[in-house]
Symmetry: C2
Subunit: 338 residues, 2 copies
């Protein structure tokens, strides 16, 4: 599938959906829309993903695409009205829309009418199936190793670690699958349920259901976590995934040098060992799991310091750790399978 | 307001919404519908609430009412088609419907059409406002003491304790309010948001918003908790309320002799001290709060053994405890205000 990705004013540092698609999806990205970086290229900013030109608006896309993907996920998931013209341009040209916002474009009358007129599909990725229910508390019955990526914060590498681990496992011939739980993961895998868009009562049930759906064909199931137990807004989502998944092990993901909760400068990150203790204690109430490995994002640190950061982090969590993007995920896979 | 309460096959032990309304609301309950107990009375089963006849179906209600209230909340919140005739009878007579199920009667075409025809209102209590968003992590800024009832399980007395504590505080002249977070609490107070019906991302934000709305007029804010951090399906809701409320203290509610999670016989209740430790650790990651008091439901135990159960429970949580229904909530209030 050929796609354009909308990431106005946010690429690359606040466009984690765009980066995720560029890095892990099978889609061919024809262009990235960011009106503040017109004329530049993806590779000017991010080196280890597929390259694409950065353009000002949808009308400048040089070739046909199959869809326009909304590649940013602002806090709250709201819609920015300045994106409307790009979406309209896409629809007028017959391109589908893939939307990960909480704001459903299907319910936007102007947009959905235009989609109908031009025979386009709108996929509101965050709209949950309407037959969800509560969990049975039985995900631990599946005949596969289940690991869950948990974090010290939002945007701490849970999605990235999940897909890096998937690739490493598959490279070793292991039947593995990622259970995506966020808009980016769902956009990458073209399936799954965005758990933070599910009503709270059914969030754990949604995770349990996804695990059971893929358990028969996989020996390793990597559940993508969300948020953090220390996050003032998203900790409920984190807990629902933890207890819905009933994992065998946890991978704690952390962004090096992060000091406060992202977007909540008044709330400091607790010490790392508070996270391991609380995650293990909380999971133990329903189905015990230990932090078996750690992933740390050292992207903004020079190599030597990154190695020190990894070693310090491994000591803090008392488990093997690495930066799965900078180095690779073998250490994490070995710890998970031990 | 005069109401009838539907509680077919569930009264009284599985009809906690019905009991809550009978005990704490200002509504005049004209009848309870339970086809398995026709001809009996509420007082045959529950002594300390308003009395009413138990009847077979809506057509037998002897006087006019203002509304039919769905007074049961099965796991999953589904709709039982055998209730349809009662709802239709109510609407045909011009009575409103108050519905706490996840199944929205407003979206049921037959029911909503009938409501329109007879000029009746349907209040789907669990339908959240559509302008919710994520929490700011600032509920601890309010100029009031905020306490949260947390539990060892569902149906462990969080709602009951909240309203008993409210009454005791008001009796002492304290400006106090309950923040209801479940269908029963919202039905009792005629306001509030049913948090388990809110999408996970916004659950903490909903609690924060409700606290800020009542903070100016109250010195004591009692937040009704939901579920339990040890619950395989609802722990996410529990965590969202804990971190959204940023309370000054926690009241741990427990049903005496409960051994397994209600509805999940394969999952044992952890020891009490695991709850206090985990609740305190989890709250401490965002905004520290201790378990300052305990409430234990000893309804099914004889008096002498109940007193022992209370003493044992106080020792287990290392804080003052009582059964606020059997005795009263003064001990809890004193601990909260200390």
């Amino acid at each position: 599938m050929r796609i354009a990705i909308l990431a106005h004013e946010q690429f690359p540092n606040h466009a984690k959906t765009a980066i995720g698609i560029l890095r892990y999806s099978d889609h061919n990205v024809v262009a990235v829309l960011d009106r503040t970086k017109t004329g530049e290229r993806v590779c000017d900013y991010v080196s280890d993903v597929q390259d694409a030109p950065i353009i000002e608006e949808m009308s400048q896309v040089s070739s046909e695409v199959d869809a326009l993907s909304i590649g940013i996920a602002p806090i709250g998931g709201g819609f920015d009205s300045t994106w409307r013209s790009d979406i309209q341009d896409a629809l007028v040209n017959g391109y589908d829309i893939i939307n990960g916002l909480h704001y459903f474009l299907e319910d936007d009358k102007r947009i959905s009418r235009l989609a109908d007129e031009h025979n386009c599909e709108i996929w509101d990725v965050r709209k949950p199936p309407d037959d969800l229910t509560v969990s049975d508390g039985t995900a631990d019955n599946v005949d596969a190793t289940v690991v869950l990526t948990v974090g010290t914060d939002c945007s701490s590498g849970k999605m990235t670690t999940s897909f890096e681990l998937l690739q490493t496992a598959r490279d070793q011939g292991i039947d593995a699958a990622v259970i995506p739980t966020g808009q980016t993961g769902v956009m990458i895998t073209d399936r799954g349920i965005v758990v933070d868009g599910v009503i709270s009562d059914f969030a754990a049930g949604a995770v349990e259901r996804m695990i059971k759906q893929v358990a028969a064909e996989n020996d390793l199931i990597i559940v993508e976590g969300q948020g953090s137990i220390a996050h003032p807004a998203y900790s409920g989502v984190t807990t629902s995934i933890l207890h819905g998944a009933m994992p065998d092990g946890l991978i704690l993901c952390h962004a090096a040098n992060r000091e406060a909760i992202r977007g909540y400068d008044h709330i400091s990150l607790p010490p790392i060992d508070e996270y391991t203790r609380t995650y293990e204690q909380l999971s133990g109430l329903v189905s015990p799991a230990k932090v078996v490995a750690g992933a740390i994002n050292t992207h903004h640190i020079e190599e030597a310091k990154a190695r020190t950061a990894v070693a310090d982090y491994a000591a803090a969590i008392d488990a093997p750790a690495t930066d799965p993007v900078r180095f690779d995920a073998t250490k994490i896979l070995n710890a998970v399978l031990k």
